[in-house]
């Protein structure tokens, strides 16, 4: 199977993968932690571009916001607290891991020979359950974005688990960095007084736009690429931008630490609550077809989405909407809490908390 688009796709695939390898070697080679983090952010950008080539639009979206945005900021906050200098290099200690990596890599590449060709439409992974999802989702759920439908409805229970894991990570970071005696490290004594007028004006313009865009991504999630995970991180990035430009204290006045922690828990409650409502109405846990009792479902106008001829599954539509809101709340509050934990582990935070 070949053709102009397929060839272009394949060429881009190779080019971007080679870029990834080059960046990975740069990360391995560099001795400076800061350079490594910077290269990881470039790595995320390149891998998200590759994900677009491999048709994974939703994953590219997530990788873009998480890899390039959230994880870079969190890593920076961590090396700030760890005062991470360039690491020491002892060449003798690299021989054994290097040999191990080469041997394991050789074995894995040998084993990769048994895997299906790139783009094989008849491979086992692509022929059974994946195809069934593609064929049945629109009839079952009515959402064009199969990824969101599978994520939120078919595999809703699994996604609840992921949300709880994220919430648990939020608790973990808050416990380790958010409470108790603060860092013994003195805050940097001298802050240069650069004006940065341009930056502050642009940031003031951008923050509401980013937040608005997060809501668009959230509510557009079952129609196009997007969803609660992406929207949550984008929302958190808007708050992080505010903190970066206007200072953590101003941000903590707008989004207090307690609020962020409460919202993180609330998201899980919303998600699980939808499941419980489904049980009350006679279905299984997270079985959205039972989300509304028949009386309420009859009250929903048939042309709500502008297509009265199509038979809509309102329970599925609204169930996905509600649990995505839960995911949004948990993810955004978690990332914000983590940022507060890392960036605010100085004397400033404890004052803000005492006052709030």
């Amino acid at each position: 199977m070949s053709g102009p688009t397929i060839d272009a796709n394949f060429a881009l695939n190779i080019a971007l993968l080679l870029m990834l390898v080059a960046i990975a070697f740069a990360v391995v080679r560099t001795r400076s932690l800061l350079a490594a983090i910077l290269m990881m952010s470039v790595y995320s950008l390149a891998s998200a571009a590759w994900l677009m080539v491999a048709d994974a639009a939703d994953v590219a979206f997530t990788e873009a916001v998480v890899g390039a945005g959230a994880s870079t900021v969190i890593l920076l906050g961590a090396i700030l607290l760890a005062r991470g200098e360039a690491e020491r290099v002892n060449w003798k200690l690299m021989i054994a891991p290097g040999a191990l990596a080469v041997v394991v890599g050789a074995v894995l590449i040998y084993a990769a020979g048994g895997l299906p060709n790139y783009g094989d439409p008849a491979s086992p992974a692509n022929s059974h359950v994946g195809r069934a999802y593609l064929e049945q989702t629109y009839g079952d759920i009515g959402a064009p974005n199969v990824v969101t439908a599978v994520l939120a409805s078919y595999r809703g229970f699994d996604t609840l688990g992921e949300t709880v894991v994220i919430f648990a990570a939020c608790i973990g970071v808050a416990l380790m960095l958010g409470f108790g005696p603060r860092a013994t490290l003195a805050p940097p004594t001298e802050i240069p007084n650069d004006q940065h007028v341009v930056l502050r004006v642009v940031a003031k313009l951008l923050i509401p736009l980013i937040a608005l865009f997060a809501l668009y991504v959230q509510f557009h999630g079952d129609l196009g690429a997007g969803g609660g995970f992406q929207a949550g991180v984008i929302m958190a990035v808007a708050i992080i931008l505010h903190a970066l430009v206007f200072g953590l204290r101003a941000t903590m006045a707008a989004v207090p630490v307690r609020l962020a922690r409460t919202v993180a828990a609330l998201g899980v409650v919303v998600y699980a609550g939808v499941g419980v409502v489904c049980i009350i109405n006679g279905g299984g846990f997270l079985d959205y077809d039972y989300l509304f009792s028949p009386r309420i479902e009859a009250m929903i106008p048939a042309n709500l989405l502008g297509d009265p001829s199509h038979e809509h599954h309102w329970g599925q539509h609204f169930g996905i909407l509600f649990i995505e809101i839960g995911v949004l709340l948990t993810v955004s509050a978690t990332i914000v809490t983590m940022f507060y934990g890392f960036a605010g582990r100085t004397l400033e935070t404890i004052e803000a908390e005492r006052r709030g």
């Binding site: 971007l16 350079a35 470039v42 700030l80 903190a243 970066l244």
Partner: protein
């Protein structure tokens, strides 16, 4: 055809940016390369939508344009001020007074 050539050109430009990010020499050069790489990625993703016939994925290019800025600001602030918590600009003085 021309779109494909444009994509190829962008890939070449991105590779050159990676080289600059690798050789440095200062961290500001690296941030600059990362930022410019990000802008080119935005354009690449937008163009890929047209090349592969699904131009409705511009949302991803949009989010890149936004996130890239935040990353650059975070890196810049980190290298220059060694903190993520303090405000930038004129407010720094006030924060210095009572903080």
């Amino acid at each position: 055809m021309l779109v494909a050539a444009g994509v190829a050109g962008l890939v070449v430009a991105m590779s050159l940016m990676i080289v600059r990010a690798m050789i440095g020499p200062s961290h500001y050069d690296r941030i600059l390369a990362a930022n410019s790489f990000g802008t080119k990625t935005v354009l690449l993703i937008a163009l890929m939508g047209f090349l592969f016939g699904r131009p409705d994925f511009l949302d991803i290019a949009l989010v890149y344009a936004l996130i890239n800025f935040v990353t650059t600001i975070a890196l810049m602030k980190f290298f220059r001020y060694r903190t993520l918590a303090r405000p930038l600009g004129a407010m720094a003085r006030e924060a210095g007074k009572d903080g």
